[in-house]
Each structure stands twice: as structure tokens, then as C-alpha cells.
């Protein structure tokens, strides 16, 4: 997991400010979601995304290389907004082994097939299995039969899609990027199905069936100002409760420490997971970075009261 490298890699000047890309704007009303599109090459993943993001459709197919990144924000009726950060992955076989790079940490997976191609439907099933095995446990999955405008060439029955989706707890829709049919509906439906950070008081959402899985955590570069001692730890198992709590306390202390411009806490995410980090000076201890529990999935991460507490305000 990229826990050790995700922060030290970063430019030091980024530490002092809320990271516009990673941390910002995450609260119950404004969600940010990592979404990954998977599926055989040529099924129209890029077309779906471009239709959704730019309202465009280009019939000449352009093979995606690696993965393209696009984002789009939608407003829901309950006046919440959802910003989709979309990874449009290449369907080519050579990228299959590298797919985890893109779906790691994704909250939503949209698996696309072409209703005129049974082969692409079985490829979609492969991706569903792959995500069930290796994706985030809470991932919201949508099965999409694209090219619905090509009814006369249909080779995958609607019922087959419906049945398969139902069996795997996915939501199913047929779309046409060409006619724009059901494209917005697809993303709106996903938005509605996203778990909400509804509980603002507790770290763990009560609705959650189980506490978040702590994949790894580390505390690095904790330096007393007078002693150049580095305490760093990485683990892939849950840290002992007491250590975790003390870190937790530390964060809390920083958060509520008398305003000091250099102290901050932020919740950030990178492609892989979410992390809490803190930076500041308390009682003669200067700590540059505390990187706290990493979760492999987000949905219920902390409420607005907890992250992004610029101690100066």
C-alpha cells in the first residue's frame, strides 16, 4: 500500500494547505467519489464518460491507452452534490494485469458490456468476479449494457443482464452513449446508492455493519523538537487499540490546540486509500506528519466535524 510514500513524496508546501485535489469538500452534502469503468475494449466506456461529462458523442472509436481521468459533478434532488472522479480504463487485454492500479480504492465500479456482443458480456462477468475478489468490500457496482440503440443487433437479452446483476447485488441499466439514453440516469442512480456519511458525531457510522477495516497505518517523523528521534511504523494489520487511541488522541489534541497557523489536520485520499494526517507543534513536540489509519474504502469516513480543521480558524 502506498502509505509510506504517499506523503513524504509530496511537496512540503502542500502540507500546510488543504489539498484541493484530495481532501477538499468532503462532507455529507458534497460527496466525492472515485469511480472506475471496466469492460472489454470497444464496448463504449469512453463514449459513456464523454457523453456524461461533456455531452459529446464521437462515433469514431478511439482506443483508450492506460486510463483517462475525467470528473463531473451532479446535483441531486436533496440538494447534495456528488463529484465523480472517473477512471476510464483501457479495455485492452494488456492492461488487465494493471487494472488494480485503477480500481484500488474505488467507491464505484461501472462494468460495461455491449448488448451486441456476448463475448463482452462474459468479459463483464469476469470483471465482476475480479472486483468481488479484489475490490473494496463496500464498492457499489453497476452493470451497464451499452449500445442499446442497436436493438436489431442485440445478442445479449435484457433479462440476462438483469438476472446477472440481481444475482450479484448490482444495479443494472441499459444505455446508449450515442443517443444519450439513460446516461445521466446511470450516474444519478449510482449517486443515490452511495452510502452517506450520515452520522456526524461518531467516527464510525452507526449504519455500518462493521467498523472500517484498517489496512495499514503509520506514524512517521514524530520528532520531539529537542530529540531527533523518528518513530515510524507500518502495519498491514489492525494496530493495537491503545496505540490507535493514542494516535487518535494526538489528532484530537492537534485539532483543538490553541490556534497555531502551522497546525493542521487533513483528510486526504490518493488513488489508493484515505488517510488522515496532521502536522504541527504541541508542547515542545514538533511532528511533521502523522499518517493515520488507512482505509481501503471510504464511505463512512468521518463527518465534517472531524477533518479539515485548520487550527488557525
Amino acid at each position: 500500500m502506498g502509505c509510506g510514500s504517499s506523503f513524504p513524496d509530496r511537496d512540503s508546501r502542500q502540507l500546510g494547505r488543504p489539498n484541493s485535489e484530495n481532501g477538499g469538500g468532503q462532507d455529507a452534502r458534497n460527496l466525492r467519489v472515485k469511480l472506475v469503468l471496466l469492460g472489454d475494449s470497444g464496448v463504449g466506456k469512453s463514449c459513456i464518460v464523454l457523453r456524461f461529462v461533456r455531452g459529446q458523442f464521437d462515433a469514431t472509436s478511439k482506443v483508450t491507452v492506460g486510463a483517462s481521468f475525467l470528473s463531473q459533478t451532479i446535483a441531486l434532488q436533496d440538494s447534495t452534490t456528488v463529484k465523480f472522479e472517473i477512471w476510464d480504463t483501457a479495455g485492452q487485454e494488456r492492461y488487465a494485469a494493471l487494472a488494480p492500479l485503477y480500481y484500488r480504492g474505488a467507491a464505484v465500479a461501472v462494468i460495461v458490456y455491449d448488448i451486441t456482443s456476448p463475448e463482452s458480456f462474459s468479459k463483464a462477468q469476469y470483471w465482476v468476479k475480479e472486483l468481488q475478489k479484489h475490490g473494496s468490500p463496500d464498492i457499489v457496482m453497476a452493470l451497464v449494457g451499452n449500445k442499446a440503440d442497436l436493438q436489431e443487433k442485440r445478442e445479449v437479452a435484457v433479462q440476462d443482464g438483469t438476472d446477472y446483476a440481481e444475482k450479484n447485488g448490482m444495479f443494472f441499466i441499459e444505455t446508449s452513449a450515442k443517443t444519450a439514453d439513460n446516461i445521466n440516469e446511470l450516474f444519478e442512480e449510482i449517486a443515490k446508492r452511495l452510502p452517506r456519511p450520515s452520522d456526524k458525531k461518531t467516527f464510525w457510522s452507526k449504519e455500518r455493519e462493521r467498523p472500517p477495516l484498517i489496512l495499514s497505518w503509520s506514524l512517521s517523523h514524530l520528532l520531539p523538537t529537542n530529540k531527533a528521534k523518528t518513530f515510524s511504523k507500518r502495519s498491514t494489520t489492525k494496530p493495537p487499540l491503545d496505540q490507535f487511541l493514542s494516535l487518535f488522541n494526538l489528532i484530537t489534541v492537534v485539532s483543538f490546540h490553541p490556534p497555531q497557523s502551522s497546525n493542521f489536520i487533513s483528510l486526504s485520499s490518493n488513488a489508493a486509500q484515505y488517510s488522515l494526517s496532521a502536522h504541527g507543534i504541541i508542547g515542545g513536540f514538533q511532528f511533521y506528519t502523522v499518517i493515520l489509519p488507512f482505509f481501503d474504502y471510504l464511505p463512512a469516513i468521518p463527518s465534517s466535524g472531524f477533518h479539515q480543521l485548520p487550527s488557525s480558524s
Binding site: 482506443v63 483508450t64 492506460g66 481521468f69 490518493n270
Partner: protein
């Protein structure tokens, strides 16, 4: 099989130029592949016995057959250099990328008449790529090629080149991947082999060398699906063999820019490189605006050529920012790096290479700060302007006794200006009948090519000139004969002059009637001119090309 006499397996390069330096008119008539009128050239195969037993004889429908023992005859008789009926691309802009003539196979007359074929196949003879025609339909042909290669290898030897009439068949074995070029373009063996090397490099860019492991584990391995959707990358690389001198010079070229502009771009790239980016490369089409490498990391010009070709030919990069695994064959052929790619406009793009798979958001941040600086310093608009204005023009060559600093375009008059000054001793082009030049700085690994102007203004003429340069390059770098220092050739098309020193190589083309002494003098002027404007045409300073 026994018919394949050793004479066809000539291990020697096919073209030898025993030219003493500065000896005019020793140059044979420049062979031209342009002289054949459409479809009218007679086929050579008047030998009535030649094709009766060949697999090509009958109509085969979708199936085809080839016989190893007859391959020499097949090559000789069946592939003609006739320009066939489909229109040749008229200019670079009208060149359509991607696979064409995908319906052809080795039974198609049109296929056999194509001037330059490239094939990639596996060591078991399974087709991987063919420039023309459908790979699967060419399975029999692939098998033939593999049989030739393995037949020679059985004799503990290697086949490098087969010559059959006007045709050359060049072989390159790269582990389990075999590459073959069959052509009648009269290019030197070294050039063709270099082109095969680049095609192999492009495969590595896309797949890394770990694809070899698949063959080790399973010789039956079929690589074609792994290259799905990349026809366009290979066709664009092959196309660049005829217009991009970087493919034989093994150097890169910069977009001409004011020194301060390039510096501004370089400074922000340096900032980014210091934050954990391995290479930060800002390019405009195939020309470098600026590039920076992390400490100790060095980038080979061939890697840059292949990377730029990969990025420019893959349309999806223009649609949105992307994060893709890529491999730099000369940097580390065994593993992928990750490339963050963003097009600022149709021509200018940024490539940030990293070893970290989760650096996307960091690189995106980097791009945003780079973009801010580029906009503030007008780098993007200057790049566009440079594209329109072009770089060095032979018409602008300043006279020799020359003082003061020079800038590109300083003396330039608009090309349609009636007052355009011309030297009296030439009707067209620059001084002393100078038509074109390429200057390659050995230390910098960079070259500068003058803009094409009259009379070399069609892609066909440009391609012919590059082919002539290629030959010159090959003969100058011929280890057996060389190293040469100077070469002067005259034929009905050009006077070509080449001058190689420790610091640079100069290739210049003149009017075929140009005066030799004047031409030599003009070359000196060109070198002086390049030195005068090197701030603008080269990327100077700490080169990441340190090996």
C-alpha cells in the same frame, strides 16, 4: 531448402560507398523509387517456370500457401515495386493513421506490390504484426519467414539480409520475437535494421520485455491480443521513417524558441522533477520544448522518439488527461513506468514519468502548476507561433563575415514578399544553391533540420531527400570503411555534402549544379549560423542524456 545458396545470405551490408572524401561526381546515379509510372512497369517474372509450383499459383480463396524452398523466387517475382492504384498520401497532413488494406493477404496482387513491408512474428511462426494485410490471413507467410530464420539458425548461423533482385529482406531476431522488413526502397541495410530495432522498441514501450517470459513459459503464446488497438502506433512509427530524421540520426530536435521562453519552461519542469518525477518532458509535436530528468536518470533519444510516437498516435490522450503504464526500452526494458499525459492544446503536451503507481494526483497537481507558469510565460503561445514561423530557413542564412548576435528570423522576409533577397548565384533556395541541411550536435544528442522550402516542398521530395541523407549517414558511420570526415556527392537530384567532426555532423543538400567550393564555404556559414542561434534551437545546459 538447399536452393537457398549462401550468396543470398549475404552477411555484408548491401550498399558500399567507396568514396574518398571530397571527391565529386563519384556518386552513382541516385536510385529513385519514384520513376515507375502507375501500374505500367513490367513485371520481371518472365521466367515461365518460376511460379508453376508456387503456392501462389491458383486462386486460394481465404487460404494461402507458401513454400520455403521457393521463397527466393517468391520474393523476386511476387512483390513488385509498382506504385499501386490507391492514392499515395500526398502530404503529412493527409496521411491517415491506422491499418490500411487490412483485407489483403499474400495472395493479393496489391499486397505483393507494396514497396515496404514490415512483419513481426513469434519464434514459433505465429504472426504478431503486419504493416499491410490481415495478420491471420498471413499466417502461412509468417510461417515461411520463421522457417527461413530457423533453417539458417539450425546451421548455427544467422540470417541478416537476403537480396532478391531489387528487394531486400532484412531480419532481426530479438529473443522470441522476429522482425522482418521486405522492401524495394533501396535503403541501406543499416537503416532498415535500425527501423526494425525501433519497431521492436515500440513493442517494448507498450508491453515491456516481460512479454518474453510468456514465450519462455509457453512457446505457443499468441502475442497479438496484447497489442490490440496499437496498429495506429506502429503505422505512425513506420510512417515517421520517411519524414522524421530522428529515426536514423538517433538524436532529438527542439522546437525553436527564444532562450528565455525555454528557460521558463525548463525551470518549472525542474521544480517538478525535484519532487519525485523521473522525467518531465514538454513537447510540441515531435519537437522538444524542454525536458528535465531526475538525478542520474538518463533518457535516450530513441526512447523519446518512441514515447512521443506512442503518445501522439494514441488519440485518447488528446481527449483528457491520462495515466498510463509505459516502458522506456533504453532506460529499463523490463518494467513499466507510469506516465501522466496531458495535452495543453492540439500540439503541445506534457509527459511526467514516475515510478510510483499512485502518483497520479501529485502529477496532476504538478501539471496544474506547470500550466500556470507556461501560461504566465507565454510558452504555449510562443510554441504555437514557432510552429507557424518555423525554424531555420536556408534563405535566411546570413553571410559569413558576420558580427553581432543573431536571432532566428531576424533577416526573414515574408516568403511572398516580392523584394525577397536572393543570392545571385542561385535561382532558388539559399546561398550557393543550398536547399536544405541537418546539423546534429553530437554532444547534445540533438539535431536541427532546416525548414523545407522550394524546390523540396512535396512530401515525396522530402522523403527522397531523407532517404539520401540516410544513405549518407549509413556510409559515414560504416564501421568497415569509416570513419569518414567529409563526403561530397553529386547526382541528378542533389549535391550532397556531409561533414563530420567530433562535435557535430552536418548534412547539406544543394542544387545539383552547385559549385563545390561555394558549397563547402556555405557549409561553414551554416555551422557558424547554428552556433550563433544555438540558444534558440537547442536545449542547452545539464543534459539528462548522460551516459
Amino acid at each position: 531448402m538447399s536452393e537457398m545458396s549462401s550468396s543470398e545470405l549475404d552477411p555484408e551490408p548491401p550498399i558500399r560507398l567507396h568514396l574518398p572524401p571530397l571527391s565529386p561526381s563519384l556518386f552513382d546515379a541516385e536510385p529513385s523509387d519514384l520513376q515507375q509510372p502507375n501500374g505500367s512497369a513490367a513485371r520481371h517474372s518472365s521466367d515461365p517456370s518460376s511460379s508453376t509450383s508456387s503456392g501462389y499459383a491458383g486462386e486460394r480463396g481465404s487460404s494461402t500457401a507458401t513454400t520455403v524452398s521457393q521463397v527466393e523466387e517468391v520474393l523476386h517475382n511476387e512483390i513488385q515495386e509498382i506504385t499501386i492504384h490507391d492514392p499515395q498520401p500526398l502530404s503529412h497532413s493527409s496521411w491517415l493513421p491506422g491499418k490500411r488494406h487490412g483485407d489483403e493477404d499474400d495472395a493479393s496482387i496489391s499486397w505483393r506490390r507494396r514497396k515496404k513491408h514490415f512483419f513481426v512474428l513469434s519464434h514459433s511462426g505465429k504472426p504478431i504484426y503486419s504493416r499491410y494485410g490481415d495478420e491471420h490471413k498471413l499466417a502461412g507467410f509468417s510461417a515461411t519467414l520463421q522457417a527461413i530464420i530457423s533453417f539458417v539458425e539450425n546451421g548455427a548461423d544467422h540470417v541478416k539480409l537476403v537480396r532478391a533482385g531489387k528487394h531486400q529482406v532484412v531480419f532481426l531476431v530479438k529473443g522470441p520475437i522476429y522482425l522482418v522488413c521486405i522492401c524495394c526502397t533501396e535503403e541501406p541495410y543499416e537503416s532498415l535494421r535500425g527501423q526494425l530495432e525501433l519497431i521492436h522498441g515500440q513493442i517494448i514501450v507498450i508491453l515491456t520485455k516481460s512479454v518474453n517470459r510468456c514465450f519462455e513459459k509457453n512457446p505457443k503464446f499468441d502475442m497479438t491480443p496484447l497489442l490490440g488497438g496499437t496498429d495506429i502506433v506502429f503505422s505512425s512509427l513506420i510512417h515517421s521513417f520517411s519524414w522524421n530524421p530522428a529515426t536514423f540520426l538517433h538524436a532529438y530536435t527542439c522546437l525553436p524558441l527564444a532562450y528565455a521562453t525555454r528557460q521558463a519552461a525548463g525551470a518549472i519542469l525542474q521544480d517538478v522533477a525535484d519532487s519525485g518525477v523521473l522525467f518531465a518532458i514538454l513537447m510540441c509535436r515531435h519537437k522538444v520544448i524542454s525536458l528535465v530528468g531526475a538525478q542520474k536518470a538518463s533518457l535516450h533519444p530513441d526512447d523519446m522518439l518512441l514515447l512521443a510516437n506512442f503518445v501522439m498516435s494514441s488519440e485518447s490522450f488528446r481527449t483528457s488527461e491520462a495515466f498510463s503504464p509505459v516502458c522506456l526500452p533504453r532506460y529499463n526494458a523490463l518494467a513499466f513506468l507510469y506516465a501522466y499525459i496531458h495535452f495543453f492544446d492540439d500540439d503541445t503536451y506534457l509527459m511526467l514519468l514516475t515510478t510510483s503507481s499512485d502518483a497520479f494526483y501529485h502529477l496532476k497537481d504538478c501539471r496544474i502548476s506547470i500550466e500556470t507558469v507556461l501560461l504566465k510565460s507565454n510558452v504555449l503561445s510562443e510554441a504555437q507561433r514557432s510552429l507557424v514561423d518555423g525554424g531555420m530557413r536556408v534563405e535566411d542564412l546570413p553571410p559569413l563575415p558576420y558580427s553581432g548576435s543573431s536571432h532566428l528570423g531576424q533577416h526573414r522576409l515574408t516568403s511572398d514578399s516580392p523584394e525577397r533577397l536572393r543570392e545571385s548565384d542561385c535561382g532558388i533556395g539559399g546561398a550557393a544553391g543550398l536547399w536544405h541541411f541537418i546539423y546534429r550536435s553530437i554532444y547534445l544528442d540533438q539535431y536541427i533540420s532546416s525548414e523545407f522550402s522550394s524546390p523540396i516542398n512535396t512530401p515525396k521530395q522530402q522523403k527522397r531527400l531523407y532517404r539520401a541523407y540516410q544513405k549518407l549517414f549509413a556510409s559515414m558511420h560504416d564501421k568497415g570503411l569509416g570513419p569518414h570526415k567529409t563526403q561530397f556527392r553529386r547526382d541528378e537530384n542533389y549535391v550532397l555534402l556531409c561533414w563530420v567532426t567530433q562535435d557535430f555532423e552536418l548534412y547539406a543538400a544543394f542544387d545539383p549544379l552547385a559549385d563545390k567550393a561555394l558549397a563547402i564555404k556555405t557549409c561553414n556559414r551554416v555551422c557558424q549560423w547554428v552556433k550563433d542561434v544555438e540558444n534558440e534551437i537547442f536545449l542547452l545546459g545539464a543534459s539528462p542524456f548522460s551516459w
